[in-house]
């Protein structure tokens, strides 16, 4: 009772400033103790679209964040034991088509042909894939295998969509053993709800 009485005796102005100070302290403590987290939904299985999830995940892990990637639909291809990812300029008009090697008149310059025509040439997809891999290698950019390995080492949680395996009749033995769990949307969403950063790629 005496406590309540003395509290009432304190002028409102003092009480307010005390509360503001305590609140700021508590919020700062909370922020300092908070480990940032990120969840990524990876839905694409081409060589170009394999990069963003693995680059962002490995970098976030290096910053000390807690990271999960949910692989669904074509994104599941990024978890196969044997990665055979391809890229094509078809339907991808912003993709620069330049030769990383060759004589000076053509090296590093855009190929003089519309991408819609290029893609009609048999074997063009393999060539475009080869060119992109070569260009990345020349520029010191990591391979997808390397980035995936770095993610595993850094404890990025790799979560696979169970429904996609059933849908495309994949065998689970085709995938890397580091997959943490096979789940559905209802298991992934609660994790995403708590994350600071959510990305759909």
């Amino acid at each position: 009772m005496s406590n309540t009485a003395s509290l009432i005796d304190i002028p409102t102005k003092d009480l307010d400033s005390w509360f503001d100070r305590r609140f700021a302290e508590k919020m700062a403590e909370r922020e300092a103790a908070h480990i940032p987290s990120m969840t990524i939904i990876a839905t694409k299985g081409t060589l170009d679209m394999a990069y963003p999830p693995f680059i962002l995940a490995s970098t976030a892990a290096a910053l000390g964040w807690d990271v999960s990637i949910f692989f669904t639909f074509y994104g599941l291809n990024l978890l196969k034991q044997n990665l055979d990812l391809k890229v094509t300029p078809l339907g991808n008009p912003a993709m620069p088509m330049k030769l990383p090697e060759g004589p000076n008149w053509i090296k590093g310059k855009p190929l003089p042909m519309p991408t819609s025509v290029m893609t009609l040439i048999p074997g063009f997809e393999s060539m475009a894939t080869g060119l992109m891999k070569k260009t990345m290698d020349n520029k010191g950019i990591a391979s997808i295998e390397q980035l995936r390995e770095l993610c595993v080492e850094a404890d990025v949680k790799l979560v696979a969509c169970q429904m996609t395996v059933d849908l495309f009749d994949y065998g689970k033995e085709d995938f890397i053993p580091e997959i943490e769990e096979w789940v559905g949307a209802a298991s992934f969403l609660p994790r995403a709800m708590k994350a600071d950063v959510n990305l759909f790629i």
């Binding site: 680059i55 970098t59 290096a62 910053l63 000390g64 010191g140 950019i141 990591a142 770095l150 850094a154």
Partner: protein, 76 residues
Amino acid sequence: MSENTHTLDARGLNCPLPILKTKKAIATLSSGDILEVTATDPGSVKDLDSFCSQTGHVMVSSEQLEDAFFFRIRKA
């Protein structure tokens, strides 16, 4: 002086490899040790600053050499 200096050559590597290599190298050091990183990726200048502010390590110096960037980072 008890602090040790270690070096990391990240020349020729592109984003995000300089950060990932730095993170791996720094994990093997003791608190207070210095890691000297040499990199050629221009993005690494801002990225390593950001890495330090997120992880609590201290960017002691960051300078541009003739053909590379040179960083000294003290482990928290």
